[in-house]
């Protein structure tokens, strides 16, 4: 197991290296000049050239890439072109909000999605199944922005129960987490239902029932556990993307996470910040995938790591 983890970590190195190259290339291929965005229009040709030199943007691209790479290895992602502050420090300020929202959202999505999926499968082809799946379909199809606006209007403006913007208190977390959680739960519910349907027809479930086990035990202990592998995979993918920040939800609820930081960085062509966030997101995906693979072993003892 330990050997497996080490192997995976070693295998992550070329992945991340490739990612740095892709990120660096994309950042520098985007049209737009950060110096022009930074300086106001009073800037003389001289000032522009000086700033470009200070930022190292006049160096050849391979050299800039090498600086980025070796800096990143030392934990130095450079300074934001926009604020002048270290990229790492700015990201560190935003990460807690993103993590909190991701956890809260998944905290709603996982139990809700799995529960709905199991119920729909257990009551297959009844009205319960149809209603659950229509709701899940809506959750997958409706834009998060639209649902968010609706929640803001109902709970913020009409009922005046919850704050609509910011992150000053636990109350501020409710609307963004519910928006995120409901949407993420729809995918999980559909996944769980189809997995359950497959398992419920298998021989061992029939055996369990024949032994006289209660419906609940069969459902949750025997069937669900064997449905979880694809579900865990989807959860992993969702968490991975949530860790990179959910721009639309963060933007809508003025939630101070990494997603908004990323968009601001792209608009300002803040190269170091764009690179830093890109690298972090890649790390997050690699880490989450590793964890997901390890969880497979817990769910299915037949899986051995070597």
């Amino acid at each position: 197991m330990l050997t497996y983890v080490i192997k995976r970590l070693v295998a992550a190195v070329p992945t991340l290296l490739g990612v740095t190259l892709v990120i660096f290339s994309m950042v520098h291929l985007t049209p737009g000049d950060p110096v022009q965005v930074m300086l106001d229009v009073h800037a003389s040709a001289d000032q522009v050239a000086r700033l470009r030199a200070e930022l190292g943007l006049d160096r050849p691209l391979p050299e800039q890439y090498a600086r980025f790479l070796f800096g990143a290895l030392r934990g130095d992602l450079g300074n934001s072109l926009k604020s002048g502050r270290p990229v790492g420090a700015e990201m560190a300020e935003r990460l807690p909000a993103t993590l909190l929202l991701a956890l809260a959202g998944m905290g709603i999505a996982i139990p809700l999605g799995i529960f709905l999926g199991v119920v729909a499968a257990a009551r297959r082809d009844t009205w319960v199944d149809s209603v659950t799946m229509v709701i899940a379909m809506m959750g997958v199809s409706l834009p998060s922005f639209w649902i968010g606006i609706l929640l803001i209007y109902v709970f913020g403006v009409q009922l005046n129960l919850l704050p609509v913007a910011g992150a000053s208190s636990w109350k501020h977390l409710i609307l963004p987490a519910v928006t995120l959680g409901t949407l993420a739960s729809s995918v999980l519910a559909r996944m769980t239902r189809s997995g359950m349907l497959e398992v419920l027809n298998s021989d061992y479930v029939r055996t369990a029932r024949a032994k006289g086990l209660s419906g609940k035990v069969v459902l949750y202990k025997h069937a669900l556990k064997n449905t979880l592998i694809p579900v865990v995979t989807i959860i992993g993918v969702q968490i991975g993307s949530l860790l990179g920040g959910t721009f639309i939800i963060e933007q809508l609820y003025a939630w101070p996470g990494v997603g908004r930081l990323a968009v601001g960085a792209i608009q300002a062509r803040d190269y170091p910040m764009m690179q830093g966030i890109g690298l972090y997101v890649a790390f997050a995906y690699v880490a989450v995938n590793l964890v997901v693979d390890l969880i497979y072993g817990l769910l299915d003892p037949r899986i051995r790591y070597s």
């Binding site: 985007t30 049209p31 737009g32 000049d33 950060p34 022009q36 965005v37 930074m38 300086l39 106001d40 229009v41 009073h42 800037a43 003389s44 040709a45 000032q47 522009v48 000086r50 700033l51 200070e54 926009k82 604020s83 002048g84 502050r85 700015e90 300020e93 935003r94 909000a97 606006i149 803001i152 209007y153 913020g156 403006v157 005046n160 704050p163 609509v164 913007a165 910011g166 992150a167 000053s168 933007q251 809508l252 609820y253 003025a254 939630w255 101070p256 996470g257 908004r260 930081l261 601001g264 608009q267 300002a268 062509r269």
Partner: protein, 545 residues
């Protein structure tokens, strides 16, 4: 307080710097002396409470010298204070952190007697040496000052004559200097504070509000400066201010800002044209407006394009644009057609342009194209077998996008094929600098008519923003005359001739000037609109919720 696209949200002001209005609607606004106003009478004001402002754009830094953002000028001014302030009625520049000042007859020497009771938030007195250090820091290349650096470009030397006497000597007479001294970008700095780590998040100034907290992406809270009692004479209160806190909540999404205003989470925010009437008729809110200190929307032509080198084609485009229809549709009527390069709020504006400027006349536009040698094809005008096709750069959303589509339709009627190309702001400006445009929408906010130097002087082709590539010696001469004339009559005359020349040559196609609106919950009293500087919180008080 206070373009995006990266640009904007506040009420502000921006004196001294050109902020291209990247954002539709331009949140940096201009003001309306007549319509502006607000309840200046504070009524029964009580100390305490918090004013919550819904802000669209987060500042990059509150180290005012290192920013070029309108919102930093604005928030920075409430924290920092400034040497001068503009009287909202007379528009004259009066003392704020000084007791008196005088300018020598040649306009080169500015002498200030400083207020002796003013001090920084850290308790240190504000003396002449602090001002000297502030100016020298802005001039020091290591500071990488943005707008502040440009504002002090003409400063030759700064001398602390005594503790409370300051003398500033300029290289050349610089008409916009008084305004520069009234901006947040040239707020006095406390050396002890400014040299500390992360000063941009912990600024120290001599204004009525001090920084309390900046939570990245979320809020910037200012608290009342209890020692402040040196407000400029035009405020009712000398200070300190009544509210305990002035909090800027960063809410990038417009729909959310409006919802937060309606739910009471914020007390003040800018409102788009669609919502103005609704908030005006809602008794809970007061709506204040400010005219843009600049030109809201105009079309620039790339004179390197052979088609656009012919003034008749530029005149035809000018005559083909239905300004009134654009204002009605895009601004919901909250704007005025523009005919010249300068807005009516500017010194030197010539009302004559309203008579001599181009009006919507599609027949005249067609005639001009025929005079220029074009023949009407099936749908569009053609010359030498080529259809008259021009691209038009615009932004991806908002007022610019909407206006570009209307202009496209107007010009199609005339017989000019317009290819609308929407770009996000950074990509747009990069395209303009590289000369990829035939035409582009543009807008600016600036404190002074000298803005034409940046957009139209031949020296600004290439690295500057003369994206029209206008190279006209007669125009250059008038621009230079305008910036160097100390005599107001001469200066006004230079700008009058310049406006006439711009119309004759049709270097731009001006479209409109707009206003920006703010809704204020009436539980906040005493906030009023300065015609050039934006919302004023000095006389404000808050009723308990």
């Amino acid at each position: 307080m206070a373009t995006r696209k990266w640009i904007f949200g506040v009420s502000l002001l921006l004196t001294g710097m050109v902020l291209l209005s990247a954002c539709s609607g331009g949140s940096k606004a201009g003001t309306t002396p007549a319509d502006g106003g607000g309840s200046k009478a504070a009524g029964e004001s009580k100390q305490g409470g918090t004013i919550n402002y819904g802000l669209s754009d987060e500042p990059d830094t509150l180290d005012v010298q290192k920013s070029g953002m309108a919102v930093v000028n604005s928030i920075g001014w409430w924290i920092g204070g400034s040497m001068l302030a503009q009287d909202p009625e007379s528009k004259k520049y009066v003392c704020y952190l000084c007791d008196s000042y005088e300018v020598s007859a040649d306009g080169l020497t500015w002498s200030f007697k400083l207020k002796e009771n003013a001090k920084f938030h850290d308790g240190n007195p504000l003396k002449a040496v602090d001002w000297k250090w502030t100016f020298e820091r802005a001039q020091n290349p290591d500071t990488k000052a943005k707008n502040a650096g440009a504002l002090v470009k003409e400063v030759k030397s700064v001398e602390a004559v005594s503790d409370y006497e300051l003398k500033i000597t300029l290289n050349n007479p610089f008409a916009p200097f008084a305004d520069a001294l009234s901006t947040g970008f040239l707020a006095p700095l406390s050396k002890a504070a400014a040299e500390k780590e992360d000063y941009g998040r912990n600024p120290v100034g001599a204004g009525p509000y001090a920084i309390a907290e900046w939570r990245s992406g979320e809020r910037i809270a200012l608290k009342r400066n209890p020692d402040f009692n040196w407000a400029p004479a035009f405020y009712q209160s000398k200070g300190p201010v009544m509210p305990d806190e002035l909090v800027f909540q960063i809410i990038p999404e417009e729909a959310t800002r409006i919802a937060a205003l309606e739910s009471g989470d914020v007390d003040i925010t800018n409102v788009n044209y669609q919502n103005v009437d609704r908030f005006k008729s809602d008794g809970t809110f007061e709506v204040l407006s400010i005219k843009r200190q600049g030109l809201g929307l105009f079309v620039i032509f790339n004179l390197e394009r052979p088609e656009l080198q012919d003034p008749k084609v530029r005149q035809a485009i000018n005559s083909g644009i239905n300004r009134d229809a654009i204002i009605k549709s895009v601004l919901r009527g909250f704007g005025k057609p523009a005919y010249g390069p300068l807005p009516e709020v500017y010194f030197g504006y010539d009302p004559g342009v309203e008579q001599t400027g181009y009006r919507f006349d599609p027949e005249k536009a067609k005639k001009l194209l025929e005079d220029a040698g074009y023949k009407k094809g099936a749908e569009y005008y053609e010359r030498d077998g080529k259809v008259l096709t021009l691209n038009l750069f615009t932004q991806t959303s908002g007022t610019w996008k909407a206006a570009s589509e209307l202009i496209q339709a107007d010009l199609k009627e005339v017989g000019i094929k317009v290819d609308v190309q929407p770009y996000e702001w950074a990509t747009l400006t990069a395209g303009l600098t590289n000369g990829k445009h035939d035409m582009s929408l543009m807008g600016y906010t600036y404190a002074d008519p000298d803005v034409v130097y940046l957009f139209l002087h031949s020296s600004q082709i290439g690295q500057g923003i003369n994206w029209s590539k206008v190279n006209d010696p007669a125009l250059d001469r008038l621009i230079e005359l305008g910036r160097a004339s100390v005599d107001p009559a001469k200066r006004a005359d230079a700008y009058k001739q310049l406006q006439a020349l711009m119309i004759e040559k049709a270097y731009w196609a001006p479209v409109y000037n707009e206003e920006q609106f703010f809704a204020i919950n009436k539980r906040v009293q005493g906030v009023w609109m300065h015609p050039t500087k934006g919302l004023q919180y000095m006389d404000a008080s808050v009723q308990a919720k």
